[in-house]
Symmetry: C2
Subunit: 351 residues, 2 copies
DNA sequence: AAATTTAACGCAACCGATTGCGCCAAAAAT
DNA sequence: ATTTTTGGCGCAATCGGTTGCGTTAAATTT
């Protein structure tokens, strides 16, 4: 097994009779090397097939051109889109992207944060796990002036970049939409309340009810742990068995919303006529379920791109890591059949 | 901005009056260091908060404990599941995972392969882009004895690990299933034929037709470039407008299959009675569309786990990279409503 | 008791790039 | 013509582990 030897700056130095310092500077287009020499070195580097050893540079600089990602689950449309956005932006800038997933376990999040720290990432992009309450495990990054971008699921208190959507307004509007469609008893699938996303969506929901002078019925607010399919089915059954079942449902995610659609259909409930439903995320399945699920769409890929850009900018500008900058992106209410009572009624009458 | 200094093996050496060599060996549990000393060193390392600098080790070994992933799109259920599987397995072994996506462009695949190579990955896991025909850009890995695992979309000729499913058999069975349900004119959405996955699924489809003495009609084999939703809609319209439209459809992926369901429904075609449909992949949307889509399921996460394991094993055993080992996993035909003509007819009669 | 083996550890080179400092010669200023 | 500036480059240390080889003292063999 013959391994082809890699070309180093020392090889180039020998060939051209320059010192390694000059080679290094020339390759980095350092101003203290003449144009002529720089060109010459670039040419020979290309000819000999020189490839920089980024490990060596990283060691020297104590910083790898790498962005670390820490999400709860890679295998989820929203996360995958964020990651995709990060990857696109990072790679254009010559950065690598290291991924890790906590599987929604706090313990894994801590371990992974350590691992990414030890890998000398240039920056970290985090979406918190379901279980995360304290954020001490991120302090080490701040201490080393490594920028952190929290995206979507962000902590309440932490000096850092944040890239989020306006969950409160989105929740408010989702519920307002149902009200506009004529719903009067609107249920809500709420997620873990220590997470900003679920907390704010619920707040928006409640305020929308109040400002429309609608009763806020405790039995219609269902707190789900995982917001998963099974949990959604159970919760839906429960709701439908109430003495006064709801005529609208705002679910904090699409998975649970879809489970509600299927469960309700199974029980012979007409959607949206008897139960109008709106979800959150605009997962691919939303447009495919029957009736198609109304939902709130995230600009997930864009959030990833922006997050990556924050880190790149931070690194190039050599800023201090105690910055605190919030980027809030717009969401959009996507109205499909599952909540479109007005249109559904019109169709009924029309025929 | 005070940066806390990191503890190195030199610090430990000074404190304990050992040489850095001994510290290094002890931390790696090298046998030539006594049990007692090893324990002592481990203890003090923990107490002082020593964290190994993997960059330094990587530089010395010319190998980072990192697995590189190169897929066409991260943001796709199948890819995301593979990546998730890789991440789980890799992280358990203390490896990082660097991702990259080609967005189905050959050029990007080449660039990314270079970038991953330059990052000194310990191994590479690849699922080819749609455009990839030659695989010269992977030769550099072989030359350096870096293991490559091709997963799912694999090249025709290349000494390497492969983790795949039996696409031929899966295709055969999918079509056989439609035949068993009573279909006689079965259409096929075929993908780019230079890719093994689509090529073999088509072969299986054709052989199933032949062995059941069914006519193979050219106009029923539709070659799609991207296998995307829009393309699927167009193709479905085309099929339905044929003088003799098909009564069955085997689509090489779920996206196109779902587009067919929606398009056919829109045209008033009854599924599965008039057109039975089966897809491929078991994407989340498959179980949610109405009628639910029959499909062929991949063990995607498992494929990722196995791929990662191949690299870990290869590295620990220090094998030569000219191994060629194929792992073929089982698929499963998931029968849902979209193809279940027999059951559908029974229900009709039953009422 | 002398010779040999072995256990336990240190020395120093090495991986490849980066960079503060210094040097020299040519250009500019006086 | 002398001094000062500056452009262009080299020296050598540095980043933090790793490892082949050598050394020493204790354990074992003869």
């Amino acid at each position: 097994m013959k391994k082809k030897k890699e070309v180093t700056i020392y090889d180039l130095a020998k060939v051209l009779n320059y010192s390694p310092s000059t080679i290094s500077r020339a390759l980095n287009n350092h101003k203290s090397i003449s144009q002529k020499t720089t060109k010459e070195i670039h040419k020979i580097a290309k000819d000999l097939g020189y490839r920089p050893n980024s490990l060596a540079a990283s060691l020297r600089n104590n910083k790898s051109k790498t962005i670390g990602i820490l999400v709860s689950r890679i295998n989820r449309p929203f996360s995958a889109s964020i990651i995709s956005g990060v990857e696109n932006t990072a790679r254009k800038a010559g950065y690598n992207v290291i991924i890790s997933q906590s599987n929604d376990k706090y313990e894994n999040e801590v371990t992974n944060a350590k691992a990414l720290y030890d890998s000398r990432v240039s920056g970290l992009i985090v979406s918190l796990s379901m279980e995360t309450i304290n954020t001490n495990h991120f302090q080490q990054f701040v201490d080393q002036n490594i920028p952190i971008v929290f995206v979507d699921r962000v902590p309440a208190e932490f000096n850092s970049y944040r890239v989020i959507i306006d969950n409160y307004t989105a929740g408010y509007r989702a519920t307002q939409h149902l009200i506009d469609q004529g719903c009067r008893r609107i249920a809500h699938f709420a997620g873990a309340q220590h997470l900003n996303v679920y907390n704010l969506r619920k707040k928006g929901h409640l305020d929308a009810l109040r400002e429309n002078n609608l009763e806020v019925a405790d039995e219609l607010i269902i707190h789900l742990d995982t917001m998963g399919f099974e949990e959604g089915c159970q919760a839906t059954k429960m709701l439908l068995n109430l003495p006064q079942p709801p005529d609208g449902l705002f679910s904090s995610n699409d998975t649970a919303a879809v489970s509600a659609i299927l469960t309700a259909k199974d029980k012979g409930i007409k959607i949206p006529e008897e139960l109008a439903i709106i979800g959150f995320n605009d997962d691919p399945m939303a447009s495919v379920v029957e009736p198609a699920l109304s939902t709130v769409s995230h600009p997930a890929t864009k959030m990833g791109e922006i997050s990556a850009q924050r880190i790149l900018d931070h690194s190039s500008k050599k800023l201090d890591s105690d910055v605190s900058e919030i980027t809030m992106l717009d969401t959009e209410i996507i109205v499909r059949s599952s909540s479109n009572k007005i249109n559904a009624l019109r169709l009924m009458e029309g025929k």
